[in-house]
């Protein structure tokens, strides 16, 4: 278990002699490749590498720590600095707006989140504000029926109308709004999202991001943040081989943190974000 062994490493730090620069360079190059393959942003990896290398040379390793342990301890700390803690998810009355790119898992995650709140003893209610995707209404309605959660949708109305009516109709304490996939270059869709946000006044705007997202994660997260302000990120499909490195850029660009991770297709496959486990997986 990573954090326990690290605690022991930190305890033993006094009095070790330094490790040679060439070994450090090899270790850092190794870490660099690991982070790049985990989809961490190239620029971010380069910045981290510089800091990791400087600290590895300057700081004394724990007595008996081999070069790899010494560097990994520093890598771990640097990653914790970027990642921070998991988003605070209050168990109280609130409205949550779910947004993100196409196919990232918003609809499934909305239902998973409803399940999460239901399990915590709250009364969730869901609004389908995706008026574009064929079958979006049926998809979310069926998921809500699986867990007996009140669902509101209108098959032929626009998103804004649906949200207006849904917020009035639904009696739940946690109202979760599903929206259509969109991206920064679709001006009409961004405008619609801003209007939904203005109307619903959500307590949380959660960005759903596919765990396999590549180098553009930060850029797209920033676009969503610029439009409506993102309060938390949910990384999906981490039950595969994707490491979710794009999440680091997403949270640094949105100045937020990761709230949950999606780990499967069923409604029970939503976990609270755990920084330690995420970093261990990132470092492979």
């Amino acid at each position: 278990n990573l954090s326990l062994s690290l605690q022991n490493v930190v305890k033993k730090i006094a009095g070790a002699r330094r490790i040679d620069p060439r070994t450090i360079d090899e270790m850092v190059k190794d870490v660099q490749r690991t982070l790049l393959q985990a989809d961490v942003n190239v620029e971010l990896v380069m910045g981290l590498s510089t800091r990791i290398r400087e600290r590895s040379l300057k700081e004394k390793p724990a007595p008996g720590a081999n070069p790899r342990e010494h560097v990994i301890r520093i890598v771990y700390q640097e990653l914790v600095d970027v990642i921070g803690k998991s988003t605070d998810v209050p168990l109280s009355k609130q409205t949550i707006l779910m947004v993100g790119l196409y196919g990232g898992g918003k609809t499934t995650t909305v239902a998973k989140l409803a399940r999460y709140f239901q399990r915590k003893g709250l009364k969730p209610a869901v609004i389908c504000a995706d008026s574009y995707r064929p079958g979006a209404y049926d998809q979310l309605k069926q998921l809500c029926e699986q867990i007996n959660v009140p669902f509101y949708g209108e098959k032929d109305s626009d998103a804004l109308t649906i949200v207006k009516h849904g917020l009035k109709e639904l009696k739940g304490d946690v109202k979760i709004i599903d929206t259509a996939g969109r991206h920064a270059l679709e001006a009409d869709l961004i405008k619609e999202m801003k209007q939904i946000h203005k109307l619903a006044k959500p307590d949380q705007n959660l960005l759903v991001l596919d765990g396999a997202m590549g180098q553009l994660a930060g850029k797209h997260a920033k676009a969503f943040d610029d439009a409506i302000g993102i309060t938390g990120v949910i990384i999906t499909k981490l039950d595969g081989t994707a490491k979710g490195g794009g999440a680091l850029s997403a949270i640094s660009e949105t100045n937020s943190s990761i709230a949950f991770i999606g780990t499967g297709e069923t409604l029970d496959d939503l976990e609270r974000f755990d920084p330690d486990r995420f970093i261990s997986r990132l470092l492979g």
């Binding site: 196919g103 998809q139 499909k237 039950d239 081989t241």
Partner: protein
């Protein structure tokens, strides 16, 4: 004067970083750089940039126009009915892509049948049902939870019996790490012997594109790939990664959500973007 090793390595590193920033997967970028390093050793410094660009275009050109396969020519000349199955992980755009292909082929005068091979996900049959209705295309479907192999097989029989030209079979999205689901896909292909297995993945995917393309290729064999959401990520790196991993041609790029939002893949388009 000749390129010294230090300058060469710096050039190759800048070049590799450029590939990585364009979303090319790390092992693929390293491979490409390795093949180019050999070409550049011993060349003159003033020629290095041009040699680098032409070496890259050659290396990528080979990868990207793998087995020069033209989809339209294939549909025209192949014996009918043609069975095409679409595979890939969750959410990449398979169902939407099938609608686009059906639209394109129908415009060219072919008769199309769609098999609703996703009998699992919520709203899947409603989604494909709406597309089939809008396109005026026959849809073969069974009840929710039915065996997908049976649905696709049923589609094959119908297409043959009614003398239709092309069957487009949709399948549920599945992660390459789920052995049971990959076995199910293997069974669908074994039972229905598709003429083409098309891998649908997204341009916005990073390093995982290589991993899953390889896995799908190993399990069912990929004849061609379609890369969606190129309107979201126009860098194109994932195209290189997937072409590299499968050795199969990239047939189309998805460039939006509407039926017309699909273009034939041109390697030159990608190479030009890389050098911008």
């Amino acid at each position: 004067r000749e390129l010294d090793e230090k300058t060469l390595e710096r050039m190759l590193w800048d070049f590799e970083t450029g590939l990585l920033e364009s979303d090319v997967a790390l092992p693929v970028a390293e491979d490409i750089v390795q093949s180019i390093r050999a070409r550049l050793l011993g060349t003159k410094r003033k020629h290095a940039d041009d040699i680098l660009e032409s070496a890259l275009r050659d290396a990528l050109g080979k990868v990207l126009s793998a087995k020069d396969f033209d989809f339209d020519e294939y549909i025209e000349s192949a014996k009918k009915p043609i069975n095409i199955v679409f595979v890939g992980i969750n959410g990449t755009g398979k169902t939407t892509t099938i609608a686009k292909i059906a639209h394109r082929l129908k415009k060219s005068g072919y008769s199309i049948v769609i098999a609703a091979g996703d009998t699992h996900r919520a709203g899947a049959s409603e989604q494909i049902g709406i597309h089939a209705k809008r396109l005026g295309v026959k849809l073969i479907e069974h009840q929710v939870g039915a065996d997908p192999a049976a649905v696709v097989y049923d589609g094959v029989q119908y297409t043959r019996a009614r003398h239709k030209d092309v069957l487009l079979a949709d399948t549920a999205g599945r992660l390459h790490t789920k052995v049971g689901l990959m076995d199910q896909l293997k069974k669908i292909c074994r039972v229905t012997s598709p003429d083409l297995v098309i891998f649908v993945d997204e341009m916005i995917a990073g390093n995982d594109a290589v991993v899953r393309a390889k896995m799908f290729n190993e399990v069912v064999g990929i004849d061609g790939s379609i890369l969606t959401k190129a309107d979201v990520d126009a860098k194109g790196g994932a195209a290189i990664s997937i072409a590299y991993a499968t050795g199969a041609p990239i047939l189309f790029l998805g460039t939006g959500q509407e039926y017309d939002d699909m273009v034939k893949f041109q390697p030159e388009w990608l190479l030009d973007r890389l050098f911008e």
